[in-house]
């Protein structure tokens, strides 16, 4: 089941979706043992921005039919906080495949996901990541629906190509572009990323969505999420993910990390059947933190 992805050797094709697994918090919750038995073949960080962000006011979550709306707002320690405090703890994660005497331990490379509101900001982020050996690859978040800038860059092929081109030569590490699904033609955006120099694309991010407070809750009807709107993830979006990954795979030469509503090995196989090289698990980890390992085992 081991795979090669943009030059990285991975134990298996299952990784986490950015922002859906915090390796440091999980180690606090589940103990140091997790570091040698990580449930994913690579660790994708939550989105990092240049400056620290608190994120959106609560409530940040709404349970939707067969899914979840989040309006987290990219809280993070900022680039320096991440590089100084978190990254050293993220280095050295390993995963185990197979059972008993046949078990093998594989390193879990770190993929750092970054977002900036301009090409300059993104370039600064990519340069800083490039300088750190603990980082194996960089994922550009041009698709987060919670922050205005992410949206606009990722949904417009011309802008997207320019941004990717602007950061491309700032690193020799694999550059993954995480596409926005909130666009008329995701394949055009993917092609733009490819032309700009991306080594891979990942999709889908969450679908722009909204929730109102329960009728009982307020004087008048009000938005539930502190951030106003949010992003829909989980099984509800799986059919959209399948369509978008297929549409992108039909046009692109570079590899694809497919995600969106994956809950089982069968779902992962479907994304791979339409062209994904790796599959990321997002929301399902919330329901079952070991699901990444389970899927890898059952593939």
């Amino acid at each position: 089941m081991s795979v090669e992805f943009c030059g990285l050797q991975l134990a298996h094709p299952i990784v986490n979706g950015s922002g859906t697994f915090d390796a440091i918090a999980a180690t606090r919750a589940f103990g140091q043992d997790l570091r040698a038995n990580f449930p994913f073949a690579a660790y994708v960080s939550k989105t990092i921005t240049l400056r620290p962000r608190d994120g959106n006011p609560p409530p940040r979550l709404w349970e939707a039919p067969a899914g979840l709306i989040n309006s987290i707002g990219l809280p993070n320690k900022g680039l320096n906080g991440y590089l100084d405090e978190d990254l050293p703890q993220l280095a050295g994660l390993r995963t185990r495949v197979g059972e008993g005497t046949g078990a093998e331990s594989w390193p879990v490379p770190v993929i750092t996901n970054v977002m900036g509101s301009s090409a300059e900001e993104l370039r600064a982020l990519v340069e800083a990541c490039d300088a750190r050996s603990e980082i194996a690859a960089i994922e550009l978040n041009v698709s987060c629906p919670n922050v205005k800038t992410g949206l606009d860059i990722g949904a417009d092929p011309a802008q997207l190509e320019a941004v990717v081109r602007a950061v491309r030569d700032a690193t020799a590490k694999p550059l993954i572009v995480k596409l926005t699904p909130n666009t008329a033609d995701v394949a055009q955006c993917a092609l733009a990323a490819e032309r700009g120099g991306a080594d891979a694309v990942s999709l889908i991010n969450t679908l722009r969505a909204m929730a109102l407070a329960p009728a009982s809750h307020a004087a008048g009807p009000s938005r539930w999420l502190g951030g106003g709107t949010g992003g829909l993830s989980g099984p509800a979006i799986r059919p959209v993910a399948l369509a978008q990954v297929a549409a992108v795979a039909a046009r692109l030469k570079i590899p694809i990390i497919g995600m969106g509503g994956v809950q089982s090995a069968a779902h992962a196989r479907e994304l791979m059947a339409v062209g994904a090289s790796l599959v990321a698990v997002g929301s399902e980890s919330f329901r079952d933190p070991a699901i990444g390992a389970t899927i890898a085992r059952e593939l």
């Binding site: 922002g19 859906t20 697994f21 915090d22 440091i24 918090a25 999980a26 606090r28 919750a29 589940f30 103990g31 140091q32 043992d33 997790l34 038995n37 449930p39 939550k46 608190d54 994120g55 006011p57 609560p58 409530p59 940040r60 979550l61 349970e63 939707a64 039919p65 067969a66 899914g67 979840l68 989040n70 987290i72 809280p75 109102l212 407070a213 809750h217 307020a218 004087a219 008048g220 009807p221 009000s222 938005r223 539930w224 999420l225 502190g226 951030g227 106003g228 989980g234 099984p235 929301s283 980890s285 919330f286 329901r287 079952d288 933190p289 070991a290």
Partner: protein, 283 residues
């Protein structure tokens, strides 16, 4: 202490009994780690989790571990929506998924302070295991072996809910409608206690209004308070950043990994999480 495994456990329900307006759910849980009082578990029914008119629940739900003894975990449940409804329906023999114990529990009282436990509604659950441990002083490592002197004050809406008080021992009860015990708020009882002897640590769990009352009372008296918070949770282990509450000094804490029990001093106030902007409507 070893750590909670990342794998969920499939538990078999051993009993699900009514206790006034609540249910006490017990499940065989031989592989669970010994929980610290105040820790919680993420629960979901193994079957029929989801579906129905609103296609919910989808995520697991957080529940305080009310007790863990004899290889069984106990939970106190109140049916407030589709997830709790489904768990309340479980019968002996049914299966449920559990992840935990999770989060930060209560800290033992320091400086020889006595413990005042203040619970509101279903929030009394973590106080049961806390009372057990304070009375034996087994895990909270107080200097005495006879246990910490403990006062338990519980508030309920009405008599049906006040039956829940049977989960603890030697309790004093307040009810909103005066049907049992003191007619009024449990914080009225707390004021009297603190006025009598402020050398105490207050442990509280309950609805936001009550917790805020406790926090403010303790802050005014410089009495240490440990508050078990609630927040909507998607994961329970720090993955989603969804369960935040604002900190006094800015930013947010994640209730699931930085709490649920927090020092009252880190909060500006305890608020019901209210939605975002009111909708303006259209002309």
């Amino acid at each position: 202490m070893s750590a909670t495994p990342i794998a969920r456990r499939l538990l078999r329900v051993t009993a699900n009994e009514q206790l006034g307006a609540y249910r006490v759910l017990r499940a065989a849980d031989p592989d669970a780690l010994e929980p610290r009082p105040g820790q919680f578990a993420m629960l979901s029914a193994a079957e029929r989790w989801g579906g129905g008119d609103e296609q919910r629940p989808f995520l697991a739900r957080a529940f305080s571990i009310a007790r863990h003894s004899g290889g069984e975990s106990h939970f106190l449940l109140e049916d407030v929506g589709p997830g709790t409804k489904r768990l309340c329906e479980l019968r002996a023999g049914d299966e449920l998924w559990a992840l935990g114990p999770l989060g930060q529990g209560f800290q033992p009282p320091r400086d020889g302070r006595r413990a005042i436990l203040v619970g509101g509604g279903v929030g009394i659950a973590p106080l049961a295991i806390l009372q057990d441990q304070l009375s034996t002083a087994a895990t909270l490592a107080t200097p005495t072996t006879t246990g910490t002197p403990t006062t338990v004050l519980l508030g309920f809406r009405d008599q049906a809910h006040a039956h829940g008080a049977a989960l603890l021992r030697d309790v004093r009860v307040a009810t909103d409608d005066g049907s049992v015990g003191h007619h009024g708020l449990v914080t009225d009882l707390l004021v009297a206690e603190l006025d009598g002897d402020p050398h105490a640590t207050v442990y509280a769990c309950g609805p936001p209004g009550m917790l805020e009352g406790v926090r403010a009372l303790c802050a005014a008296r410089e009495t240490p308070s440990q508050l078990a918070l609630e927040a909507g949770m998607a994961c329970g282990f720090g993955a989603c950043f969804g369960c935040v509450v604002p900190k006094r000094d800015g930013g947010y804490l994640r209730v699931c990994v930085d709490g649920p029990v927090v020092d009252g001093a880190v909060l500006e106030r305890v608020e019901e999480p209210m939605g975002g902007a009111l909708l303006a409507g259209r002309a």
